[in-house]
């Protein structure tokens, strides 16, 4: 688990290998259970993919709680399976879903989870996870961000993007993968209102648009895990962009 503060400020420190990001120690009060905190971060990241329309508006609060509980159970199970596999070298399937396609590996459990804080871009926390050579970053809603409305937003765009690219690149610390890939998940409404500038320059910064998963096909296939929460998750709220790093 890593909490990373404002990589944009630290994109470059000459002579220092910590390029693009700074890890800061968690100043957690003793009464807070750190394990609980870690679980919260994992839950927050994974819950970004809960589809709103799957949570009926009636008794919204109760439904959200039950969905959260389902998600938590699923994550606990997945974690258990993963740990067992690691410890006993069991050849168990971590996930049934989507293994045939790299395209949708946001459904896989991350090997590391992150909170990013980029105050020059947004005051919101940014939830991320690392999954093999994919770094998944779910951008928060920018509709209320002060910066997207000012004249310098275009420059800021480049800064935060470069910061994320540098961070992704540096996650490949063992040079295990030939290419690291940054997957940005941008809310559709944001993209239409604020992100078109980025989209229109995507070719120039080496980005690609990734097709969303075909939910209809997936729901009818054997690829999707049978637990009910897997059916409540989806990526269709987002436009997905990918960058090679």
């Amino acid at each position: 688990m890593r909490l990373i503060e404002d990589p944009s400020n630290l994109v470059w420190l000459v002579g220092d290998l910590r390029i693009g990001a700074r890890d800061i120690p968690l100043d957690v009060p003793p009464e807070v259970d750190i394990i609980d905190f870690y679980w919260d971060v994992i839950l927050c990241m994974e819950s970004q993919f809960i589809l709103d329309y799957n949570v009926p508006s009636k008794n919204m609060g109760n439904n959200q709680k039950s969905v959260a509980k389902l998600l938590k159970n699923k994550l606990v199970n997945d974690m258990k399976t993963t740990l067992k596999r690691l410890i006993y070298n069991e050849n168990t399937k971590q996930y049934k879903n989507n293994n045939s396609h790299d395209g949708y590996n946001w459904r896989k459990l991350g090997s590391q989870y992150f909170i990013l804080y980029l105050p020059l871009f947004t005051q919101e926390l940014i939830w991320c996870k690392l999954n093999e050579n994919y770094f998944h970053v779910v951008l928060p809603s920018l509709l209320n961000s002060r910066n997207v409305h000012d004249n310098h937003s275009t420059y800021i765009n480049k800064d935060w993007l470069l910061a994320l690219l540098e961070l992704t690149s540096n996650l490949n610390q063992n040079f295990k993968f030939e290419y690291m890939k940054l997957r940005l998940y941008i809310l559709r409404d944001d993209l239409i209102n604020n992100g078109l500038d980025l989209l229109k320059n995507l070719n120039w910064v080496g980005g690609k648009l990734i097709k969303n998963e075909d939910r209809e096909v997936l729901l009818n296939s054997a690829d999707l895990a049978t637990d009910s929460i897997s059916h409540l998750l989806g990526d269709e709220n987002f436009v997905i962009l990918e960058f090679e790093c």
Partner: protein
């Protein structure tokens, strides 16, 4: 206006031409024309009808023949899955004609083809054979070009958002030429690729371009000193200056001004910072087939004024779409139709924004759908089979009775090819559209679209040989 006319206009202008013998001495010159002279010169170019003529026609009979042959082989009743997929016709002969036209109009400028525009291997090989060099923006592109046994000195690495790992990679592959526009990048380069031959990218006025780059990339002229200072301090190798006026510009004054600004940087580097004389001017890209004559006339005019023949500067460019847009024609199949009223419908084809038409989102392109096959007949040669706009005289609703919106195969709201189009034919499921000149910034030639199957076949023809 011919080159001679441009030359005459130039020699009769009040401009102070660059004195070759003194081009690097410590003497400030007023290079640029006054606003009125420049305006008049450019207006003269704009009004010159010769410049509106297209350099050549596409090889329509050959393209039609290839489309017809491919579709003729498909039997709707018995075809295998995938046979009805959209496909491209790529005319390599068109690429050759475009190259010849480049040499004719810009003989002094060495093109570095922007690989990101269309990395099709056959096109890259042909361009390499023709002597074109390459502008790469990523590791994958560098790999692809090097794998074709092309020397790294034929590559310029021009990604405006360079990650440290990319710079390391360029260094490991001996790719020496690289652009930059900020001090942070210089520090990265100093650390990972200190021998790099650097091109300082300056911002241009790209307000008339469809695809604006200077709003994001390029150093403003008032900040050039900071970069030159840093270059000197870090002991880096500044080889030249680059700019990019953006794609789809309608006013080429920006080209003239950018060349003038580049000259200012050349002189500033030598005169104020004592840096070795710069050797490369990179005039970027943004060239389009339709406006090529006009843009190149302005560019020649500017170069003759600020970087005349014999000035000792190599001039390069980063054209992308110019070399591929008109070489590709896309055909797509109508897979669904939703009637909204008697003469109005939503048409769904098997290609769209997430396939080979992502240029709609990323490149401000508006593909022009035309009827290719309807009612058991081919309509390729009816270049007026559809229209985006009606008027009261030439294109009336009675001539184009069918109003449609055209969508890609996904159910995504972004996947819209045309919001409103008018057609002569009441197309139905099983018909075909074609989209001419769709070779730039489509994913047609991507080796692999992030794990997804490549979405279209490419049928190659060579109209110069066949």
């Amino acid at each position: 206006m011919s080159s001679t006319q441009v030359g005459n206009a130039l020699s009769s202008s009040t401009t102070t031409l660059v004195d070759l013998s003194n081009s690097t001495v410590t003497q400030k010159k007023q290079y640029y024309k006054d606003g009125e002279t420049l305006h008049n010169l450019l207006l003269e170019l704009k009004n010159n009808q010769d410049l509106e003529l297209l350099p050549h026609e596409q090889a329509h009979p050959k393209i039609f023949q290839a489309l017809k042959a491919r579709i003729g082989r498909i039997n709707n009743e018995t075809c295998d899955p995938g046979e009805e997929n959209s496909f491209f016709i790529c005319d390599l002969g068109e690429v050759k004609r475009l190259f010849n036209n480049w040499v004719k109009e810009l003989p002094r400028i060495k093109p570095f083809y922007a690989v990101k525009c269309n990395p099709d291997t056959k096109v890259l090989s042909l361009l390499a054979e023709l002597g074109v060099n390459f502008d790469c923006a990523s590791k994958v592109e560098i790999d692809r070009v090097l794998s074709m046994n092309i020397s790294p000195d034929r590559i310029v690495y021009a990604n405006p958002c360079k990650v440290a790992s990319f710079i390391r990679y360029a260094a490991s592959k001996n790719v020496m030429k690289s652009t930059f526009d900020n001090v942070e990048e210089l520090h990265k380069i100093k650390k990972f690729h200190p021998e790099s031959q650097l091109l300082l990218r300056i911002a241009t006025d790209d307000s008339t371009a469809q695809c604006r780059l200077s709003t994001k990339y390029g150093c403003e002229m008032e900040n050039v000193d900071v970069l030159l200072e840093a270059i000197k301090e870090l002991g880096l190798n500044l080889a030249g200056v680059s700019f990019h006026v953006g794609s789809g510009a309608s006013d080429f004054t920006s080209l003239y001004k950018a060349v003038r600004d580049a000259r200012t940087v050349f002189d500033k580097a030598a005169n104020e910072y004592g840096l070795p004389p710069l050797k490369i001017l990179d005039v970027g890209g943004g060239f389009q087939f339709e406006s090529f004559k006009e843009s190149t006339a302005v560019l020649r005019l500017a170069l003759e004024e600020f970087f005349p023949v014999g000035c000792g500067v190599d001039i390069i460019a980063e054209p992308g779409r110019y070399f591929v847009a008109t070489a590709f024609t896309l055909a797509s199949h109508v897979i669904a139709k939703r009637k909204l009223s008697e003469n109005e419908a939503m048409i769904y084809t098997n290609d769209g924004v997430y396939g080979n038409m992502n240029c709609i989102l990323f490149d401000h392109q508006e593909p022009h759908p035309r009827t290719l096959y309807h009612n058991l007949e081919f309509h390729y040669n009816d270049f007026e089979s559809t229209t985006a706009v009606l008027d009261s005289i030439n294109k009336t609703r009675s001539e184009y009775p069918y109003k449609v919106s055209i969508w890609g195969p996904t159910c995504d709201g972004l996947d819209c090819i045309a919001k409103e189009y008018y057609m002569k034919h009441d197309v139905i499921v099983g018909d075909w559209f074609y989209f001419p000149a769709l070779g730039a910034y489509t994913s047609s030639a991507a080796t692999q679209f992030n794990g997804f199957e490549q979405t279209a076949d490419i049928v190659y023809i060579d109209s110069e040989l066949d």
